[in-house]
Point group: C2
Chain length 282, copies 2
C-alpha cells in the first residue's frame, strides 16, 4: 500500500504543478499533500488490480477522487461550517492561510478534479460514464446532501434512519463510487454490486469515525476529538452506545467481506484494505 500512496502523492504534486503560482496554489498543495490515508484512491486502485488491471494506468482518476475529498474537508472546516482548527495533524487551511484562500482552494480543487478526469488517458465514452457517476456522488444528491443533513441535525436529535441517511450520503457516496468506478472500468456488470459493498463499507467507516471521536487519540487522529459532542451531533455512539456501535461495524464489515468474496476471484488484497480501514485507530 505504501508504494501506491507514494505514487498517488507524487502524481497529485505533478497535477498541481502546472497551476498558476500564488496563495491558492500554496493552499491547495498544503491541504492536498498533508499526510492523509488516501483510502478512497486506494480502494479504487486496489479493486482495479483485483480485476487484473494495471492500476498505474488509472492514477489520474485516483487523484481526482482525492482532490474531491480534500476540497470537501477544506470547506467543511470553514468557520461558516464546522469551524475546525485541526485536520490531518495540521492547522486547517483557513487557519494556516485565510478564509478567502480556503474557499478558493476548495473551489480550485473541485475544478482541478474535473480537469484531471477529463484529460486522463481513457476512451472518451468510458471517461464520461465514470466522471458522471463520480460527480453525481459528490454533488447535491450525494455528499453535499449528506453535509446539508449533517448541519440540519446539529443541536437536533436525529433518529437512526436519519443518521444513516447522513452517513450514507456524506461519507458513503464518495467511498462507494470508488469501488463502482473501478467496476465500471473493469467489469461493468458488477458495478451495482460494488456500489452496494461500498455503501456498507462507508457506513462502517463512519460509525468507526463516531467511535473514534469518543475513544480515539487526538494525536493519532490528527483532528480534535469530542467534536461531535461539542457540536451536539447525534452519532451511532450517542444513539446505540459504544458496544452496539462496534457490533454494527463488525456486522457491516462481515457483510462486505462475504459480498466481495462472491464477486472477485482474487479478493485478498481488497479484503486486507477493508480490514485495515475498519481496524484503524486514526
Amino acid at each position: 500500500m505504501n508504494v501506491k500512496i507514494e505514487k498517488i502523492n507524487e502524481r497529485l504534486q505533478e497535477l498541481v504543478a502546472t497551476s498558476q503560482s500564488g496563495s491558492i496554489k500554496d493552499a491547495v498543495l498544503y491541504s492536498l499533500l498533508a499526510p492523509g490515508k488516501r483510502l478512497r484512491p486506494l480502494l479504487f486502485l486496489t479493486l482495479l488490480e483485483s480485476y487484473g488491471l494495471a492500476s498505474d494506468d488509472y492514477l489520474d482518476i485516483a487523484c481526482a477522487i482525492e482532490m474531491i475529498h480534500t476540497y470537501s474537508l477544506i470547506h467543511d472546516d470553514l468557520p461558516g461550517m464546522d469551524n475546525d482548527s485541526l485536520r490531518r495533524g495540521r492547522p486547517t487551511c483557513h487557519i494556516q492561510f485565510d478564509e478567502a484562500s480556503a474557499i478558493l482552494a476548495g473551489d480550485a480543487l473541485l475544478n482541478l478534479s474535473i480537469s484531471t478526469l477529463l484529460t486522463c488517458d481513457m476512451d472518451a465514452l468510458l471517461k464520461v460514464e465514470v466522471a458522471t457517476r463520480l460527480f453525481e456522488s459528490s454533488g447535491i444528491n450525494g455528499m453535499i446532501f449528506g453535509q446539508q443533513q449533517d448541519i440540519y441535525f446539529e443541536n437536533k436529535q436525529a433518529n437512526l434512519e436519519e443518521l444513516n441517511t447522513i452517513h450514507l450520503n456524506k461519507t458513503g457516496a464518495l467511498i462507494s463510487v470508488c469501488l463502482e468506478m473501478a467496476a465500471l472500468i473493469a467489469d461493468p456488470k458488477q458495478a451495482l454490486s460494488m456500489r452496494k459493498i461500498g455503501y456498507d463499507l462507508g457506513l462502517a467507516f463512519q460509525i468507526q469515525d463516531d467511535i473514534l471521536d469518543v475513544i480515539g487519540d487526538q494525536d493519532l487522529l490528527g483532528k480534535v476529538v469530542g467534536s461531535d459532542e461539542t457540536n451536539q451531533k447525534s452519532t451511532y455512539v450517542t444513539l446505540l452506545g459504544l458496544e452496539e456501535s462496534q457490533k454494527k461495524v463488525n456486522e457491516l464489515f462481515n457483510q462486505c467481506v462475504e459480498d466481495t468474496k462472491k464477486l472477485l476471484r482474487h479478493p485478498d488484497t481488497l479484503l486486507e484494505l477493508f480490514d485495515k480501514i475498519l481496524k484503524r485507530v486514526s
Copy 2:
C-alpha cells in the same frame, strides 16, 4: 434574446428539479433564478446560431456555464471574500440563507455544472473537449487565478498590466470560453480566434463594470455601487480616469466587431449582442 433567456431559465429550473430537497436546493434556486442577464450563455447560444446550428440542442451547456458563473458569485459574496450584501437586486445568498448554505450551494452548483455537461446529448469526444476548455477557464489557471489576484491587490496599488491580468482571468476567461466552445462545436478552426475576441470582449465588459461602479445606478445594477472604492481596489477608472476608460472600452469593442466580421458570414445577431453588452447600464 428574451425568448432565449426564458428557455435558459426554464431549463435551469428543470436541471435543478431532480436535486434532493432542502436548504441547499432552495439556496441554489434562489441564486440561480435571480434576474440575471445570462450574458455568458447568450454569447454561447448566439454564436452557435451564427454558425447555423440550432441553439436549442446546446441549452444544457449554456446552463452549465451559467451555473459556474452563479457559483462564483455566491462564493465571491461570502463574508470571507468580498462580503457583499446585494446581488442581482436581492440579498446575497449567505444573507438570505446562511453562510454554510451559501458555501454548499456554490459547491453544489459547480458539481451540477459538471454533471449537466457530462450528461448532455453530444458526441463523447466533443463533450470531453468542450468540458475540458470550460473547466480550465473556470479553474486555478483562469477565473480562480483572477479572483486570487483581485484579493491580492486589495489595499495595494495594481498597475495597468496587473489590472489586465486580473480582469482577463477573473472575467475574461469565462466570457471568452463561451465563444470558444461554440466554435469548437461548429467550426473548430475558428476556436482560437473566437477565444481572442472573447478576451477583448471580457476586458471591455470588466472596464465597463469599473465605470458603472462609479457612475451606475444601484437600483438598475442590483448591487452596491462604490464597492471598488470601499474595498480600495485599483480599477481602470482609478488608474486612467473615466474618459480614458470609456475610450478603451470603445477601442476594444471596435476590435471585437472588426474581428468578428472577418470570421462570420452572418455576424449581425452576435454583434447586436456585443452592442447590448457594451452599452448596458446595469
